[in-house]
């Protein structure tokens, strides 16, 4: 993606970058263990844990009973005893079974016991989409986690960040919720081979522009980048702020960008009500009302269940084409020959992440 124009830099997919991040963190910290349903199995969490058990042994890399809540508690107990834990869920939907342990124990332990102990646990969870995964395998429940004090919630969009933020999360003393969109897994980026940490609480400007700020995260950052590329063809220059962390939210980077473009569009990765986009609009309006030329725009999923049928789901999701048309309307710009729309048109099915995909997930 961005910054990948240097051909000398090695490229990895997002999934490979996650794997490398875990690998390097495990090498660095012999007290770090990895556990999750399917972690050492032949498909190894979409190959993101491939070979780890062979390399680090069955005393550090574990499969797991299907006991999401109990096992989250077990991992918290281990973390309280100084074992760093990476726990992995193939779908974020499954984590709903573990909300008691995450909210009542992991998030609160350090505070309620007056800083005497802490919970170094990273919980990776993957957001699904497409191929008819439907109501209970394709939700993005990010805002639920961001609501809870004591959690850090990160949503990397690029392979470079995926690795750096994974390493940083695994070094952190706090519970970190690590949310990945499944459709990011195949996307390549230049990823340094060395071990490095990326910030867990800072947004970053992925593309500079002067006309409008788009704040987005996860897969919607990628879609927004595509939209920005096409919009530049008609002279609309979009600045993209990739949130990276949704708890805490880096208000400084957002406000700085808005003060430059004077226009704010927030592209949410999930539903509108009670959302991260609502939070961002609020913080900008509260602290930067005078910076804005017009009322901010939110692009988010409609407040209903994700349908299974691709005939319905294709309309439900927002892509780069939709984002770009909304931005043009927002700025009252008419693209009479539909330059932008044509460029972003998707040929072929919309319910798969790429042409190589053969389903099911």
């Amino acid at each position: 993606m961005h910054k990948s124009h240097d051909k000398n830099l090695r490229k990895l997919t997002f999934a490979e970058a996650i794997r490398e991040g875990i690998d390097q963190a495990m090498m660095d910290n012999s007290d770090l263990i990895v556990i999750g349903e399917g972690v050492p199995d032949p498909k190894s969490i979409f190959l993101t844990t491939k070979g780890l058990q062979e390399k680090y042994g069955s005393n550090r890399v574990f499969d797991m009973p299907l006991s999401e809540n109990g096992m989250t508690g077990v991992c918290i107990g281990a973390a309280l005893n100084g074992t760093s834990v990476l726990m992995i869920h193939q779908r974020i939907d499954f984590v709903m079974l573990a909300m008691d342990q995450i909210i009542n124990n992991a998030a609160k332990w350090h505070y309620m016991f007056n800083g005497q102990s802490s919970v170094p646990i990273v919980i990776r969870m993957i957001v699904g989409r497409g191929w008819g995964q439907g109501p209970q395998h394709s939700q993005n429940l990010q805002a639920l986690f961001a609501h809870i004090p004591g959690l850090k919630v990160v949503t990397p969009a690029t392979a470079k960040d995926a690795k750096g933020m994974m390493i940083a999360a695994l070094k952190d003393k706090n519970p970190v919720i690590f949310i990945e969109h499944r459709w990011l897994h195949h996307i390549e980026d230049a990823v340094p081979e060395k071990t490095y940490s990326s910030s867990l609480d800072k947004a970053q400007v992925l593309r500079e522009g002067s006309d409008v700020t788009i704040v987005a995260n996860s897969l919607m950052t990628i879609e927004s980048m595509k939209a920005a590329g096409a919009l530049s063809k008609v002279g609309v220059y979009v600045e993209i702020v990739d949130l990276r962390s949704i708890k805490p939210i880096d208000s400084d980077t957002i406000l700085k960008s808005v003060s430059k473009t004077r226009n704010l569009v927030v592209v949410d990765s999930s539903w509108k009500t009670g959302s991260i986009s609502g939070e961002i609009v609020s913080l900008v309006v509260e602290t930067g009302f005078d910076l804005l030329d017009r009322a901010p725009l939110r692009i988010a999923l409609s407040d209903h269940v994700v349908p299974t049928s691709h005939y319905l789901a294709d309309e439900y999701y927002k892509d780069a084409q939709y984002i770009s048309s909304q931005v043009l309307d927002f700025l009252s710009i008419v693209d009479s020959t539909n330059v932008v729309g044509k460029q972003l048109e998707i040929h072929g099915p919309k319910d798969v992440p790429n042409k190589e995909f053969h389903g099911p997930f």
Binding site: G70, G82, H110
Partner: protein, 330 residues
């Protein structure tokens, strides 16, 4: 059952007095909290364990400081039996800076890491998997110690407990499950909540080694737990205890609540006749002289210590307001 350990124990009067002191101390602390609760200075829910003192005292006799204990909402006895600091605990109930959580936890969140009391919380079932994870981590790190988790009969209805038991057995972890069956979840009797089968049979079906005893008889608790804890230490996997006992006071608060008629008539008095403190006292007295002087001395020392703890709590500073946002993250 003749057991060399018990024989030795019964002969060791000093040991018996020490056990008695622990039982009575917990009783008197709970009574002191109840008595002073109406002063409105301990402004947090309290779940008093009067009537249930023998279980943690009996179990903890076989624990060292290095062993870890996790607990639930009715945790005072567990905390003291493990050696938890009295002054810090009372100060915690007073919401003071010197409390064991600096006033952030209250009665439902006790901790004393110096003696291996890792934490208690009031979400029923919440700490059970934590103790299992704690034991798992100990094994992974090669620490030679065990973990103990206390919970009630109501907790046994939580799915997370069964998830935790499965994992403990699967990995043969050195963890002791202590089910304190007092027959009630708040006002609701066991037979309204659970099918007619034994709790230990379910634990056994999980592959757990199970043990049960009269939870109001501290010597019986000690005897049963001696062998079981040794088994866990020797790498034979998790052990499950069910101890029958009875809560004398209301579920939450300082008062009796028998007038609400949710307990069968006469049940409370029957259990009061089986008071764990008196039971041991009778055992000691039966052995020989009446030891009146010793008993008075124990009582006196305990009362002095309790008064000092309350003074300490009252005289301690309240937490600094500017610390309110501290410790959100480590």
């Amino acid at each position: 059952m003749t057991n060399r350990y018990q024989k030795l124990l019964l002969e060791a009067e000093t040991e018996l007095f020490s056990i008695y002191t622990q039982l009575l101390r917990i009783r008197r602390i709970e009574e002191a909290i109840a008595k002073r609760y109406s002063e409105w200075e301990m402004r947090c829910p309290v779940h008093l364990g009067i009537g249930q003192e023998a279980i943690p005292v009996g179990v903890s006799m076989h624990l060292t400081k290095n062993d870890h204990v996790y607990s639930n909402h009715r945790s005072h006895g567990h905390y003291f039996a493990k050696g938890g600091n009295l002054k810090k605990m009372i100060a915690e109930l007073y919401g003071k800076e010197t409390g064991c959580c600096g006033g952030r936890g209250g009665s439902m969140h006790l901790i004393d890491l110096e003696v291996g009391f890792m934490g208690s919380t009031p979400i029923v079932g919440g700490t059970v998997p934590l103790a299992v994870g704690d034991a798992w981590s100990a094994v992974l790190k090669g620490e030679k110690r065990i973990s103990v988790i206390y919970f009630g009969d109501g907790c046994f209805e939580e799915g997370v407990v069964h998830e935790a038991m499965n994992f403990a057995v699967l990995h043969k972890l050195p963890v002791i499950f202590v089910c304190e069956n007092n027959g009630y979840s708040v006002f609701t009797q066991l037979n309204e909540r659970q099918a007619t089968r034994k709790i230990i049979n379910i634990a056994e079906a999980h592959g757990m080694q199970t043990h049960s005893a009269d939870g109001n008889d501290v010597l019986e608790v000690m005897e049963v737990s001696y062998n079981a804890i040794k088994r866990a230490r020797d790498g034979n996997g998790p052990q499950f205890f069910e101890f029958k006992t009875y809560r004398w006071l209301e579920h939450c608060g300082p008062d009796e609540d028998d007038h609400l008629n949710y307990r069968p008539q006469g049940e409370l008095s029957t259990w009061k006749d089986r008071c764990p403190v008196e039971k041991l006292k009778k055992h000691i007295v039966r052995k020989d002289t009446n030891y009146e002087e010793q008993f008075q001395l124990i009582e006196k020392d305990i009362n002095i210590e309790i008064d000092e703890a309350f003074e300490f709590a009252k005289n301690s500073k309240s937490p600094q307001i500017d610390q309110l946002g501290k410790y959100i993250y480590a």
